[in-house]
């Protein structure tokens, strides 16, 4: 006999079939049948009630980034769905696998400007890998399976399922679906042996190679293949912001971070190498600086899974389009053992220079106010460089990423391409669910914290062990820095009048402490890490501190400024 179930119940079974165990969401009118079905599945599908739909998506992103699994968020129609948009756009540009399920009005009233009706598919299409409206209960199993397949395969990305109310309440003879093939979609291209041989030849003949490591290495789980590749041919490497933990910071071939606020040596050497080998990165403008002067002297090989990234920003000599877990291993098999001692030692003086003029003053100051760099550096050390770094956006992010050190893969959760302020707090909550065994340290500024501050409520309810390090400089620091450097110090609306964060934390039952003195810092960090559950460590830091070094907008990678004097 047929056993008919509702579309909402079919969604629950489909989510369970996909192995979902955590979802972040917020109920509302058009998604109520789904929440009703969820009530019976709440043991297996652990639902985290966030305090705003934006928080649900950022939390799902944090979960996905540390775990490598698909993050799931649920919201209602109209305003609920619109509040997820920022996180979806963020996940799209940072290639984060998400499935966002939004309620939608009944198909019978679609297009009539019904209550809480918004054209979600129209809004979502340009910022998703796939967006689909489920109008019939019969389509639920297929659409959910297809959504997860698309979200996690190839270059990952967000998928939106717009779930009409009648499809939630309607009955269906449920049969599980398993989509693992779409004829119009080739998630993992496979390059020919000839291309692999050409790549190996170019690397074998290179005297001054430099590898650029991007998040693609983490997404492809190719960290071990990368190390074998680098070590065999003795290739120095530098990481993008999102690729920072793809290679341990302490690895002898890790030359540091690329980009606008990256390290001096790898940026300068980009314009001196004879072969640039980009792996799973997309030549973002924050990495390349002026593209007209970027690595003009070098041959370029680009390893990427997404053919549309090839020659998009930078023209390359050879494209190796595929999953770098396989392509790196195939190329490594053809590499000769090599040494590039002289070339690698040429990075040293630049490192020494940056160390002396920027890093040491930022992380080991002898006097003056507390600095963001030293807080980050002390926290990283206190966690033995084992923690997950989550940042918000701005100076906290740049100092966080520069001075944290990484020993494990998937240890950086930051909003790269989109630069979404307010990302940090909810993403950190998600990270505690994605990596429950690890310490999660969030660095956030006084601006960004207030953008999603309501998620203190989620932390309270879930007792999420987020170690919140608030770098409070009473400014929107990054914009203030640009105003100082490029707008004649006209601090237009960047000074920030702040509330008493400790009292806010206390209202949510989050233990806290404020530090302004260097002498108290280590003890405060120790207490934060020793306290089970969440903790707010507010650091009153120097108000007008600048993230340096810096490639000014429009300058070349080798025109990095070490300091700024007005």
């Amino acid at each position: 006999m047929k056993q008919l179930i509702t579309g909402a119940e079919a969604l629950m079974r489909s989510l369970e079939a996909e192995g979902v165990d955590v979802l972040f969401g917020y109920p509302g009118g058009a998604i109520m049948p789904t929440y009703d079905a969820l009530y019976d599945h709440r043991e297996r599908l652990h639902h985290i009630l966030v305090r705003h739909e934006q928080g649900a998506v950022h939390a799902a992103q944090g979960y996905a980034r540390v775990s490598g699994r698909v993050g799931v968020a649920i919201a209602t129609s109209g305003p609920g769905a619109m509040n997820t948009v920022t996180g979806i756009a963020d996940a799209m540009i940072d290639s984060t696998p998400l499935v966002v399920i939004c309620g939608q009005v009944d198909a019978a009233v679609m297009g009539t400007d019904a209550f809480q009706e918004v054209d979600v598919i129209g809004v979502a299409q340009p910022i998703t890998k796939w967006a689909y409206q489920i109008r019939r209960p019969q389509d639920v199993a297929w659409a959910v399976s297809r959504a997860f397949y698309i979200a996690r395969s190839g270059r990952p990305g967000p998928v939106v399922l717009d779930f009409a109310k009648n499809a939630q309440t309607g009955l269906v003879d449920y049969e599980p679906a398993h989509v693992d093939f779409i004829r119009s979609y080739r998630p993992v291209p496979v390059p020919s042996d000839d291309v692999i041989r050409q790549a190996a030849d170019m690397i074998n003949h290179s005297q001054r190679p430099l590898v650029l490591v991007g998040q693609g290495v983490e997404l492809g789980e190719a960290q071990a293949e990368l190390q074998q590749f680098l070590e065999l041919a003795d290739l120095p490497a530098a990481c993008t912001l999102l690729g920072l933990s793809a290679l341990p910071s302490a690895h002898r071939l890790n030359m540091g971070m690329l980009g606008m606020h990256g390290n001096l040596a790898p940026n300068v050497m980009t314009n001196q190498c004879d072969l640039l080998i980009a792996v799973g990165m997309r030549f973002d403008d924050r990495v390349t600086g002026n593209v007209q002067t970027y690595a003009r002297q070098a041959k370029i090989i680009h390893f990427d899974i997404d053919p549309s990234e090839i020659n998009k920003n930078i023209s390359v000599d050879l494209a190796v389009v595929g999953n770098c877990k396989q392509t790196l291993a195939r190329v490594t098999a053809l590499l000769h053992e090599a040494r590039h001692d002289e070339w690698i030692s040429a990075f040293r003086p630049l490192w020494d220079k940056e160390n002396e003029r920027v890093i040491r003053p930022a992380t080991q100051p002898a006097e003056g106010p507390l600095l963001m760099g030293e807080v980050v550096s002390r926290v990283s050390e206190a966690t033995n460089h084992q923690a997950v770094l989550v940042t918000d956006v701005g100076q906290n992010q740049m100092f966080g990423c520069r001075y944290f050190r990484y020993s494990q893969p998937r240890s950086v959760v930051t909003s790269g391409g989109c630069g979404t302020m307010g990302f940090g707090l909810p993403a950190a909550i998600g990270a505690t669910f994605g990596a429950p065994e690890r310490t999660v340290c969030l660095f956030v500024g006084d601006g960004g914290l207030q953008m999603t501050l309501q998620e203190f409520g989620t932390i309270m309810e879930q007792h999420s062990p987020v170690k919140i390090i608030l770098l409070n400089n009473n400014f929107l620091g990054n914009v203030r820095q640009w105003q100082q450097m490029f707008f004649h110090r006209r601090y237009s609306f960047t000074p920030m009048l702040n509330p008493d964060y400790e009292r806010i934390a206390s209202a949510y039952g989050i233990p806290s402490q404020t530090v302004t003195e260097r002498s108290q810092l280590d003890e405060a960090i120790r207490r934060m890490l020793a306290t089970p559950g969440p903790y707010l460590l507010q650091c009153g830091v120097k108000e007008e501190d600048n993230v340096m070094p810096m490639i000014p907008l429009g300058a070349s990678v080798d025109e990095m400024m070490l300091e700024f004097k007005d």
């Binding site: 598919i121 129209g122 299409q125 340009p126 890998k129 796939w130 967006a131 698309i150 693992d180 093939f181 779409i182 004829r183 119009s184 979609y185 080739r186 997404d306 053919p307 549309s308 090839i310 020659n311 998009k312």
Partner: protein, 179 residues
């Protein structure tokens, strides 16, 4: 960089909303679509889009790659005019009284090899197929005589000159991967 007139031939699954996704790729990169035609293709369930635009070759490459990246798009390729057979059509509604007064009007119609498909005391309907230039010169000549009531020109349609069918090859190749 030199811009050229390109024709893009795009094939997609017959799902709702794909045209939107395709045109958004052009809008985002500030390229104007000159003409657009959408219809079912010779392969069941597959839709064919013929889109023309003026852009650099780099842009044409980027556009087709970004379009092909859409999950339900099967293929997207760009062509110059010498690589394809092309055709457009137009309908022109002429004033019969003007035509009766000026013998030059029907001479123009005949000279351009256009067909008269409807004649009544108020208006005549002329249809013409060909390339853009032929159609525009017919229109402009008729218009200069003050005879045109309405004019409409279709988007370009095109098939490739190639002796191999890339879509069929692609579908065959993909079907082998079906588990």
């Amino acid at each position: 960089m030199e811009t050229k007139f390109y024709t893009m031939l795009i094939y997609s699954e017959n799902f709702a909303g794909i045209l939107n996704q395709i045109t958004a790729v052009f809008t985002r990169r500030q390229v104007n679509i000159e003409s657009l035609n959408v219809c079912a293709s010779s392969t069941p369930g597959v839709h064919k889009y013929t889109i023309t635009c003026n852009c650099t070759e780099e842009m044409a490459k980027m556009l087709t790659k970004q379009i092909e990246k859409k999950i339900d798009v099967l293929q997207a390729h760009y062509f110059t005019d010498d690589e394809i057979f092309i055709m457009e059509a137009c309908l022109i509604k002429l004033s019969t009284p003007v035509m009766m007064r000026n013998a030059e009007v029907s001479r123009i119609v005949r000279h351009h090899d256009a067909h008269m498909t409807e004649v009544n005391p108020t208006y005549c309907i002329v249809e013409k197929k060909g390339r853009t230039d032929d159609i525009l010169s017919l229109f402009e000549e008729l218009n200069s005589k003050g005879a045109v009531l309405q004019f409409v020109r279709s988007g370009r349609i095109a098939v490739t000159r190639s002796t191999t069918e890339r879509l069929d090859q692609y579908l065959e190749e993909m079907e082998k991967m079906r588990k």
